[in-house]
């Protein structure tokens, strides 16, 4: 099943990846060749096979409910692109 340009644009939007006009045809072509590789899976009979999410099939360890972190705001914000009054700045969020 081949992806169309509009689907590629939709995926790029979901992933918030800006693509230039020029990149779209080649991206579409490459994605289609990768999907061609992936689609080989469909030939495998996996009826009744439980999906495997983690190789070891271990279970989650729980952490004691204790506060051990302290305020490191200045250190963490030293590498931020834009901050003011302790807040990270972004273009206006419209709801």
């Amino acid at each position: 099943m081949a992806l169309e340009r509009t689907e590629v644009e939709k995926i790029a939007h979901l992933a918030r990846l800006g693509l230039n006009e020029g990149e779209i045809p080649s991206t579409t072509e490459t994605l289609n060749s990768i999907l061609g590789l992936i689609d080989q899976m469909q030939a495998v009979d996996t009826t009744g096979i439980e999906p495997l999410a983690h190789p070891l099939e271990a279970t989650q360890r729980l952490r004691a409910d204790q506060v051990t972190e302290n305020n490191q705001r200045d250190a963490y914000q030293a590498i931020a692109p834009a901050v003011e009054n302790g807040l990270y700045l972004v273009p206006k969020v419209i709801e």
Partner: protein
């Protein structure tokens, strides 16, 4: 001094033949002189290295000892190092001086290792040629017109060129073993969960595992011993004691049962590599091993399954690179969407964007079952193959790569062709078992690697087999000319 292995360095430092400071100074000079040919370092941390070396000498003077005390190493540039650029080979981490240390970095520092710098890599560990780095491709010291493999290509090139005795790497689909094979090194990907992933910037969380690249199995044992172990900060890290890898090395191989999967020797394998692998088998037989043919029938499905699971996890893992809290942010975003799309569009390279898009698609509504669930079912089939195989054999042996190191740029235009290079390595990541690659000789002057796969937590056995082999062969001692 640069030809010494970690084990030799440890003896030299213990015998006071030289100090860590002298050794560090000499290697820093060598890096400065030779690395421009290779581009294996993204950052050289000379000042920090000198103070770490002096501190190691002081610790030794005060009576401390330890195999890695004063040992020079480098870190793949996806291990967070506090206050030092941690780039993942990506433009999007421009200016990202990590605010903390990875557990692996902490552990090696605690053992007294001296970090000379951060090593080049495929962007976000996505690649098998080390050509996708924002900091430029790394060259193979065995032939500067060829790739060193990837994604831990900087680690491999630096160790192969004797700029460092050992380095850290990570392996999501072969990223330690494949570059080790293409540069004549020994490298081990441990069992999933053996080494903490805290501070190791994720590509695909359920597949990623850190491990060492070095010139000998013994050095890998020294490194892995320091790197492995439980970490409460990583929920997927295993709370189980670390085996004594060093002690395991000397175990005789008599009685060792080796499985040769017939699927590893079929079409697609460079026959000359196949011959080298069979020569290794012969040598191991002489050491007392028995050999039988086995089958891993689902191996052929590993690549499609891997190229769903890894991109799916990556598409989510890489969402945090959004230009808000750290890293690259586009100029003058006009609105929020523009900030996201341009920061990410400009900050990520082509291969990363491709994989994010494949993963986004595989997880999207209507495709999830056909792609993601299907891939996880195949993942179980692959694991089941190994579980069955390890009922009959102790280790599985085969080629690490189907081909020799290829020319820079040769596979750039066809990502699918590059993906196929991972055929022998990715099954270990899908199943979570340990895998090791070791030098097995040369074809046309280019190194060939042989891969050993073991059952869960059998790192000690893999290192043992490699070490015993290295006692009777000298492929691992060959150095590229000019280095």
């Amino acid at each position: 001094m640069h030809h010494m292995t970690l084990a030799e360095i440890a003896r030299g430092l213990a015998d006071k033949q030289f100090s860590a400071e002298e050794l560090t100074r000499s290697l820093l000079a060598r890096i400065q002189q030779l690395d421009p040919q290779l581009n294996s370092f993204i950052t050289v941390t000379a000042d920090q290295a000198m103070s770490q070396a002096k501190a190691a000498d002081a610790r030794r003077a005060s009576g401390e000892s330890g195999a890695l005390l004063g040992a020079p190493i480098g870190h793949k540039d996806l291990f967070c190092t506090q206050g030092v650029l941690t780039s993942c080979g990506s433009k999007i981490l421009t200016g990202f001086k990590a605010p903390y240390n990875a557990t692996v970095v902490e552990k090696l520092a605690a053992a007294g290792a001296v970090t000379l710098g951060k090593l080049n890599m495929d962007e976000f560990a996505m690649g098998s040629a080390n050509e996708s780095s924002h900091y430029g491709p790394v060259k193979n010291p065995w032939d500067l017109t060829r790739v060193p493999g990837g994604s831990s290509g900087g680690s491999a090139a630096a160790v192969a060129a004797r700029l460092l005795p050992a380095a850290t790497g990570t392996d999501t689909g072969g990223s330690i073993r494949q570059p080790a094979a293409l540069t004549n090194l020994t490298g081990i990907k441990p069992t999933y969960g053996r080494v903490s992933r805290w501070g190791m910037i994720a590509y695909a969380s359920s597949l990623d595992q850190g491990g060492p690249l070095a010139r000998t199995a013994e050095d890998c044992a020294l490194m892995l011993h320091a790197m492995a172990g439980f970490d409460a900060k990583d929920s997927t890290c295993v709370d189980q004691p670390v085996d004594d890898y060093l002690a395991a090395l000397s175990q005789p191989l008599a009685g060792l049962r080796i499985g040769l999967p017939k699927e590893y020797f079929g079409a697609g394998l460079d026959a000359r590599i196949g011959e080298k692998v069979m020569a290794v088998v012969e040598a191991l037989k002489k050491l007392g091993a028995s050999v039988k043919e086995i089958s891993l029938p689902n191996m052929q499905h590993a690549i499609p399954a891997y190229y769903v699971i890894a991109p799916a996890e990556a598409s989510s893992n890489l969402s945090r690179f959004d230009g808000v809290r750290f890293g690259y942010r586009c100029e003058n975003p006009v609105n929020l969407e523009d900030l996201y799309k341009r920061s990410r569009g400009e900050g990520f390279g082509a291969e990363v964007k491709r994989r994010i898009m494949v993963g986004t698609y595989a997880l999207s509504a209507g495709y999830y079952d056909a792609y993601y669930i299907k891939a996880q079912q195949i993942r179980r089939l692959i694991k089941n193959d190994f579980v069955a195989a390890f009922n009959d054999v102790d280790v599985i042996l085969g080629p690490t790569t189907p081909n020799l190191a290829w020319k820079l740029g040769e596979k750039n235009s066809d990502p699918v062709a590059a993906y196929l290079e991972d055929i022998y390595t990715i099954t270990a990541n899908l199943a979570g078992i340990p895998g090791l690659s070791m030098p097995a000789g040369f074809v046309d002057g280019l190194p060939v690697g042989v891969q050993l796969l073991g059952n869960y937590f059998q790192e000690g056995r893999l290192l043992n087999v490699a070490h015993q082999y290295q006692q009777v062969t000298d492929w691992h001692t060959h150095a590229p000319s000019g280095f």
